[in-house]
């Protein structure tokens, strides 16, 4: 099979993984090396596809042959999609030639399970080894870890990779059991626990002052498919919060379940719930950076996030008694709860109000959505009046859902 054809099959097979981040690892360059590559710490997106997703890494599967039969997966054993398998050298050369042309930050390599977890993991690790050791490649490498692969292989993966990830796939262990019968939710969590311990170990100095061996400096992440099972948002966020707490993940990715070629009839085949996915990401940010708890973010009776307004606005609308907030006096934690104020604008408000009082005109220069902020704040020369009591406040704050058929041409 031609290389181009393999690339088409194996990129197509990898595109359901949302993660493409190239951030969070240590900074390095090639100035003292023989090879190529650098990392900046913050990551670079080299392109964007019309699905709005960033293209930062060459994201491919080593092979889409798989012995598992996970119904949501395009690569499941019972699917009739065309199959292909890259050789180690093919992946290495493809990565290097894309990298030289500045198309990518590095490689994100995953694989269908062939023969057994150890055999598969060995192949994946071998690609990373050749890139690092033979070609002195210093770009970003993200490896998908096969749960239950042997600890020695994990250690080697961590030595070469900048980030490791294992997908929990579905929000609950029970759904995983029904949709992915061969996958073991407990084993996935056990592996994530091991990864956290190894990542933390690699950051501690040993008693002799020697640096411990490198292990996935960019941490670990995971992905959950949303909308393939009936789990509600409350359970999803609860799972996320616990995953962050237990395994110190850098990110939990949410992937709206979308129709796949040759799909199983056990699944809801319809347009993917993109707005829900977007709201879950917003809620996830509230968990990580805004001091919200998983329980308080869900405001609906049905355990779902409000699709009409963002989760922070939804929370504020239900807690109107805590508003308006005085921008010149409120503590940081409360400023972070004001709809329309982000982490940066809160930092700017805190710095500015130490110098002088903030007034209405000042807000226009903070580049924020006045429409969102104004009903919830009070300033020396501004008061929202009775707008907080307005029954139509929610309708006024609603953002029209962007049309999917965007007129571009």
């Amino acid at each position: 099979m031609e290389l181009k054809q393999k690339l088409e099959i194996l990129a197509d097979a990898a595109k359901y993984d949302a993660s493409c981040a190239s951030s969070g690892t240590d900074k390095r360059t090639s100035t003292n090396g023989k090879g190529i590559g650098s990392t900046t710490g913050m990551g670079i997106c080299h392109s964007y596809a019309p699905d709005g997703r960033c293209i930062s890494l060459l994201k491919i599967l080593l092979t889409n042959f798989c012995v598992y039969d996970c119904v949501y997966c395009v690569n499941r054993v019972s699917s009739n999609v065309p199959r292909a398998r890259f050789s180690v050298d093919e992946v290495v050369n493809l990565t290097l030639s894309f990298y030289r042309r500045n198309y990518i930050e590095g490689l994100f390599l995953s694989s269908g399970i062939i023969r057994n977890p150890d055999y598969t993991m060995e192949q994946v690790v071998e690609v990373a080894r050749v890139l690092r050791e033979v070609h002195d490649f210093r770009g970003y490498i993200h490896l998908k870890t096969i749960p239950d692969a042997s600890p020695e292989l994990m250690v080697r993966a961590g030595l070469y990779a900048d980030r490791l990830s294992i997908n929990v796939e579905l929000p609950t262990i029970a759904s995983l059991q029904s949709l992915a019968p061969e996958k073991d939710g407990k084993a996935i969590r056990r592996s994530m626990g091991q990864l956290r311990l190894k990542i933390e170990e690699s950051k501690e100095k040993t008693l002799t002052g020697k640096r411990p061996p490198r292990f996935s400096p960019g941490g670990q992440s995971t992905q959950m498919i949303v909308g393939a099972d009936s789990t509600d948002d409350r359970a999803i966020l609860d799972t996320s919060a616990n995953l962050y707490g237990a395994f110190r993940l850098r990110r939990v990715y949410y992937s709206a379940f979308s129709p796949i070629p040759d799909a199983s009839n056990m699944l809801p085949l319809k347009a993917p719930p993109l707005v829900r996915e977007h709201r879950l990401y917003q809620a996830d940010w509230l968990l990580r950076f805004y001091g919200f708890d998983a329980e308080e973010i869900i405001t609906g009776q049905d355990g779902m996030l409000d699709l009409d307004v963002d989760p922070k606005t939804a929370w504020a609308l239900q807690h109107r008694e805590q508003f308006p907030v005085d921008l010149n006096r409120a503590p940081k934690a409360m400023l972070l709860r004001v709809p329309g104020l982000g982490v940066t604008s809160v930092a700017r408000i805190l710095a500015a109000r130490k110098v002088r009082a903030i007034r209405y005109d000042d807000l226009t220069r903070l580049r924020l959505s006045l429409k969102k902020v104004l009903p919830f704040v009070v300033l020396p020369d501004y008061h929202p009046g009775r707008s907080l009591d307005d029954n139509h406040l929610k309708q006024r704050l609603q953002q029209p859902v962007p049309s999917q058929q965007f007129a571009l041409f």
């Binding site: 690339l7 392109s47 012995v67 030289r100 198309y103 969590r189 919060a241 395994f247 002088r356």
Partner: protein
């Protein structure tokens, strides 16, 4: 009106020297015009008033006005912006900083806000240059490759991007051509030449076809989000991106492609499917071991597969007892620590190390004992991203007690060391304080002996060094007592 002529658009040193001089002469911002290179004079500019910064550079003023370090950083970024008013803006900020030293904290001030917006625009442009420069490969006469790119930045950022490209493509020969300035790297040194035109850059090459295949395949037609793409990859960049010509076609086809996937009827698998045997299943196969160990394994398997534990939902895994059976000493903790939950073994991490040291000092090998906890799951609550252990309640103990009893039956210890009063309570049903019973040997109703001592994790949390030392010594003493008792029991039994 004073005119300052800077050597180039990014002449930060020239700007600093001129600004320093002008500030000392107390010349207000509105009386200064800033010009770059050989620009033509404005109608009212008087050439004799020109200040050429490089000639005045040595005039070090005696009284220096200190500017905050962040202002210098701001200048370095703002000067890269393409807006011609940037020099005046920076001088006005400097002028105002004299009276308002905290001015830069005021993001709501119009001047500060404008400068910060310029910094943002420059950073973004620099970031997009790193992202969207696309090299094309040219084979040179000696057979080596040279990589050439054409790029059109919005601001004066080419020199600022150099460290990125030399650091990344150090061992490659490359050139980046832009309308204003070109940059060439031969593997060792960087050279700049005058601006070029797009026609001087190499045209499309075969290598781009693979990249386009990738771009086409990685796009998911079922999730069209064009506005999200445009926000990050505005159309002004498209003309130099080899993948951009595909966008229109991908968007147009997406809806029929998605619809096709939805209506397609499910197919029958074409290949023969072999049932996959999971590791879990293979692990359950009987292994040859002594009867006691088999009994223990059966017990543990039940524990692992049982879902009726209220705490098993969020715990990473069941932390089972560890060690050989039978064992003369059983070490009993209250519940797994966070590290144990991740590792799947009792007494790991720092607390485990401390316990090992204490066992060692008491003359006990870790392999001689069986270690376990009353609870087999980590009980915690989330506080932000931290997992805070929760205290055991009676009903927790009641839930796990049958398992502990069964474990004790299998392990058959003669002495149990309970770490902490709650572990002891699980065995005795009474409240016990470790202080009150430390150093004493108690006898349980089933005739096993009990030593209650302090939990190693608790010792770790003690701040005061003297107390910590004291408690550590107590732990060793208590363990030694247990060892002695176990020895005596062994002798009694013969």
């Amino acid at each position: 009106m004073q005119t300052v002529r800077l050597a180039s658009d990014t002449d930060i040193e020239g700007w600093r020297n001129a600004a320093r001089t002008l500030l000392l002469q107390e010349i207000a911002p509105e009386h200064i015009q800033w010009r770059v290179g050989q620009q033509t004079y404005g109608l009212f500019d008087l050439p004799e008033d020109e200040l050429i910064p490089s000639q005045r550079a040595n005039q070090r003023p005696t009284t220096q006005f200190k500017v905050p370090r962040e202002f210098i950083e701001l200048c370095r970024q703002v000067i890269l912006h393409s807006d011609p008013s940037r020099f005046t803006l920076l001088y006005r900020l400097l002028w105002r900083l004299k009276a308002q030293p905290k001015l830069l904290q005021l993001s709501v001030d119009p001047d500060v806000a404008k400068a910060q917006a310029m910094v943002k625009a420059v950073r973004r442009d620099l970031h997009k240059m790193k992202a969207f420069v696309r090299f094309r490969e040219i084979e040179m006469e000696n057979g080596e490759s040279e990589f050439v790119a054409w790029f059109e930045p919005s601001h004066h950022i080419v020199e600022a991007s150099a460290p990125f490209f030399t650091g990344r493509f150090t061992n490659m020969r490359w050139s980046i051509l832009t309308p204003e300035i070109c940059m060439h790297w031969d593997g060792h040194t960087l050279n700049y030449t005058a601006g070029a035109s797009k026609s001087e850059a190499p045209s499309e090459d075969a290598g781009e076809e693979l990249w386009r295949s990738y771009y086409r395949s990685i796009f998911n037609p079922a999730r069209l989000k064009v506005s999200a793409m445009l926000a990050q990859m505005p159309k002004k960049y498209w003309r130099n991106l080899p993948e951009a010509p595909l966008i229109a076609e991908l968007i147009a086809d997406s809806s029929p492609r998605m619809h096709g996937m939805i209506v397609a009827p499910p197919t029958e698998p074409q290949r023969k499917i072999v049932k996959y045997v999971t590791k879990e299943e293979s692990r359950r196969l009987p292994a040859d071991a002594g009867d006691v160990m088999t009994a223990l394994r059966e017990l543990n398997d039940t524990m692992l597969s049982s879902a009726d534990f209220p705490l098993s939902g969020h715990a990473t895994q069941a932390v089972l007892g560890q060690g050989v059976a039978p064992a003369t000493i059983l070490l009993l903790g209250e519940q797994p620590q966070e590290q144990d939950d991740l590792a799947g073994q009792p007494f790991t991490g720092q607390a485990g190390t401390l316990l090992d040291q204490a066992l060692n000092a008491a003359g006990i090998g870790r392999s001689d004992v069986y270690a376990t906890n009353v609870l087999k799951h980590y009980k915690y609550k989330l506080q932000g991203r931290r997992r805070i252990p929760l205290a055991l309640e009676d009903r927790d103990i009641q839930t796990y007690l049958p398992w502990l009893r069964a474990e004790i039956e299998v392990v058959q210890p003669s002495v149990i060391v309970a770490f902490g009063p709650i572990a002891a309570r699980a065995l005795t049903g009474k409240g016990m304080e470790s202080e009150a019973h430390g150093g004493k040997l108690l006898t349980l109703p089933d005739d096993r002996q009990l030593v209650v001592t302090i939990h190693p994790a608790l010792i770790l949390s003690i701040r005061d060094q003297a107390t910590k030392q004291l408690r550590s010594e107590q732990l060793v003493k208590d363990l030694a007592l247990a060892a002695k008792a176990a020895m005596q029991r062994a002798l009694e039994k013969g």
